[in-house]
């Protein structure tokens, strides 16, 4: 299917001789408040191919897909659909253009039947405005039969499995006549057998002449199913290659392999004994092992970098460590205290600090004051509160201290936190957690969304904390960050640490292989 793969990556206008590509982006650019999410994207998706879009988190995949589906508008550039320039200003317009999208989180009505869900919004009618459910079920049954695996049109969506729900989503698109299908990380929610079924369905769709664009993280899967692969990095298209002409190593390198700009920062103090010990922790949800017997230890004066593609158990690990979820099995120790079942406050008082990934939502209260946000999570202990009474003076002094030390630009400590810009809100949260003098600091994507200066500053702070004896667990999908800071690096894949390296010995391409599952941990963990 992949015709002249490398040639089209240049993005020149299509020749009249060739059939027009199903989708063509020319110089598409999208900026958010100073951040360029998509920078001069040129992309061609041929009619009837399966085109995979890969890249790290934040590379711009979702933004690009949202523009194709009309959820976002490009600031520059144009999008051509079947050779015609189009302004896709709403999902409705996208549907008119026969473009459909399956979101990562399904948009189904749980207590409706499969048939009802599929026809929802375009229901067949009998006279007098009455629904013709019989007709709906007949048509849905027909669609489902042409689609291989059986699907009961009468079943309620809440009663069927995730894989089947996904099929309902795809059928929904087909019912509306879509022939360009966008699948946003369709395999993320599926177990391996379901992935196989999905791929069978995708091949069937391709045989029926549909065009499929899909976003995926696992390079193995991408190479298995895609005709061509476009790699995005930092909002730019790195290359479009034919799946047949490449391998996981090459794609992984394109994904993460920018020239290493950063010098490693070595610690001043030697790594000490274990501070955090995680033993055989398992978290099960919906029959899936989100953490599958994970072992981990982080030592005093050590930055342990946890690398991995998002969705491989990082979030669950953090929640189990912080105390937001209690693991199903396994044990967690902090400095010899067992904390497996302790609540968040106990853990914080025992010396845990936590920089949440979603700082706005989980790390602060935007409507409350800057000063109040400066002590959130430490508000219950002296000097900020004594015998249940807040010491507003001490709280204000802490806020001023943070503003000074971390160069937070705030109109006033008595202003609501939403008066701060996003970057400054982040700095406030980071500063607050550093200031709690922790034994263990859990930093989830601490520099995401920060500019280069602020990033440098955070790194410096992490290194300083390490030198002061703090055990730092750094979770990041930015390998550059991990390689620059970590004394040890672990790769998390499918809920387990599959490989572990000394920081100085890890390389991007090797990490990339483990992260994408191209190499498994069973072969030989290094350190």
């Amino acid at each position: 299917m992949a015709t002249e793969a490398t040639e089209v990556s240049g993005g020149g206008p299509s020749e009249a001789r060739r059939p027009a590509p199903a989708i063509e982006c020319r110089g598409v650019t999208r900026r958010y408040a100073g951040v360029v999410a998509n920078d001069q994207i040129d992309l061609q998706v041929a009619e009837g191919e399966i085109h995979a879009l890969v890249g790290e988190n934040g590379a711009g995949k979702s933004t690009l897909m949202k523009m194709l589906y009309g959820l976002e508008q490009p600031d520059e550039g144009e999008i051509l659909v079947r050779g015609e320039p189009q302004v896709i200003d709403s999902p409705r317009k996208a549907i008119e253009l026969r473009i459909g999208m399956v979101h990562q989180h399904f948009m189904l009505v749980d207590n409706f039947t499969v048939a009802e869900n599929i026809v929802l919004g375009a229901e067949p009618h009998k006279g007098g405005g009455r629904l013709d459910l019989g007709e709906a079920e007949r048509r849905v049954g027909e669609l489902a039969r042409g689609f291989g695996t059986p699907l009961d049109p009468h079943a309620r969506v809440e009663d069927i499995g995730v894989g089947q729900q996904q099929r309902v989503e795809i059928l929904k698109l087909l019912y509306r006549g879509a022939d360009i299908l966008i699948l946003d990380e369709p395999t993320a929610v599926l177990v391996p057998q379901e992935v196989e079924e999905l791929f069978a369905n995708m091949r069937q769709l391709k045989a029926d002449g549909k065009t499929i664009i899909f976003i995926a993280h696992s390079l193995d899967e991408v190479l298995q199913i895609a005709d061509r692969i476009t790699v995005l990095r930092d909002g730019e298209v790195i290359d479009t290659v034919a799946a047949a002409d490449t391998d996981t190593h090459q794609v992984a390198e394109m994904m993460v392999g920018r020239p290493v700009l950063l010098r490693r920062v070595e610690g001043k103090t030697a790594t000490g004994g274990p501070m955090l010990q995680v033993k055989d922790v398992r978290v099960v949800a919906g029959g899936k092992d989100l953490l599958a017997g994970l072992d981990l230890d982080v030592r005093r004066s050590e930055i342990y970098g946890l690398a991995g593609v998002e969705g491989n158990g990082q979030a669950e690990l953090v929640e189990a460590l912080v105390g937001l979820t209690i693991p199903d099995t396994g044990r967690i120790y902090l400095d010899d205290d067992e904390l497996t079942r302790a609540d968040v406050r106990t853990r914080r008082q025992a010396g845990l600090a936590y920089i949440p990934e979603d700082r706005h939502a989980r790390g602060m209260v935007l409507q409350m004051l800057v000063s109040e946000n400066s002590v959130l999570g430490q508000h219950e202990r002296p000097p900020f509160s004594n015998h249940g009474l807040l010491d507003l003076g001490a709280i204000r002094r802490r806020a001023l201290e943070l503003i000074r030390t971390f160069r937070v630009k705030a109109p006033s400590v008595a202003a609501p936190a939403y008066a701060l810009s996003g970057g400054n809100q982040q700095k406030l949260v980071l500063g607050r957690e550093f200031a709690s003098k922790p034994k263990l600091l859990i930093a989830a994507h601490p520099t995401r969304g920060l500019d280069i200066g602020a990033t440098q500053f955070v790194w410096q702070e992490l290194v300083e904390a390490r030198d002061e004896g703090v055990a730092v667990l750094l979770i990041s999908s930015n390998l550059e960050e991990i390689l620059a800071l970590a004394d040890r690096v672990g790769v998390i894949y499918d809920g387990r640490i599959v490989a572990q390296f000394r920081g100085a010995e890890a390389t991007m391409s090797e990490l990339g292989l483990y992260m994408t599952g191209a190499r498994s941990g069973d072969e030989e963990p290094a350190a």
Partner: protein, 394 residues
Amino acid sequence: MKVEEKPPPPPEPELEEAAARIPWGQRLQGWALQLLAPAISLLIAAVVGVLVILIVQQSWSDVADVAGAMWSYGLFNRNSVAFILGRATPLIFAGLAVAIAFKAGLFNIGVEGQYAIGALAAGYVGYQLSAPTVLHLPLTILAGMAGGMAWAAIPALLKVYRGAHEVISTIMMNFVANALLLYLLSGVMKDPNQQGSIAQQQTPPIEPSAQVGSMVPFFNSIGFDFRGSAPVTWFFVLAIVAAVLYALTVRRTRFGFELRVLGTNPRAAEPSGIRSNAMVMKAMLLSGAIAGLVALQDVIGIDDRMKLDYIRNYGFTGIVIALLGRNSGLGIVAAALLFSFLDRASSGIGLNTEVPKEVTSIMSGVIILTIVIAYQLVTRMNARRQLREQHDRA
């Protein structure tokens, strides 16, 4: 790019100065914005009131009559001030009860049932026990609070352990309270010397040792001239104390801090070590305890027994009071006084004009309907202003 080893440069001193406190101009602007919404709402209510009078009576002189009656009778009749303060008392308690739950993000619609049970419990202790005042009166008041608390505990437990939404369960508990009230007042708690219909059911009289005194002698000693029967008791002082304690609790205590975190961003509460479920329990119990005080002025102050007709929708008015007062102690007191004044003014309209006195009910209705919209408008205006300022700084 390499991580620099230098410490950050010292901050500019002006930054610190500026960060220390909000300038007065900005503060005043903030306060003005706080008052803007109720002002808009009152204005609309006044306009609607005028329109209604014009439609009903079709004459501007009636509008003037009504305004005059509201002003002169509502504020300057001999007993008006006493009436307004007395009538505001249960509304302040009800508003505080709703507000403290609001602060934790909970919508306690069950104040109505909670104060019914509280009044019942206080009434029972009031007539059943005999003890010296120093013991009997506090016990009676505590019984009222315990009654309200117990009634609030059920929805709280249902929410924490079963996930039942408090709006539904507190409404249900109101019905149960009502039925229980009817049952007890016409049964075991009924005054044996009392005859009459169900509507007049009441308990035996409360011992004098459990009664709260009238504030009229105090007011008259400082120059007022209220009739002895004017309905204001020392409960009014208790209500003010409660409002002050409420304001201090919300702003100055760890408990209040955690309430606000939970109420404004529940997702940030757990990662900050705040035990959400425990906070929900505490907030609901406290709300119920305050609710238990709502009708006590009627039971052990103005009258001397628990009667069925003390159940007067204070709980629902409390929701409006809390909303109008923006859940602040001072705001709630002000809103309660306003509603109390409207009530008094309606008597003036009934007595002194040709206009039906229900025009004040319409006005309070309009306030209820417009206040939410007005706050939303002001909040948006505020957000736009903040955004502009942020833009200017950037």
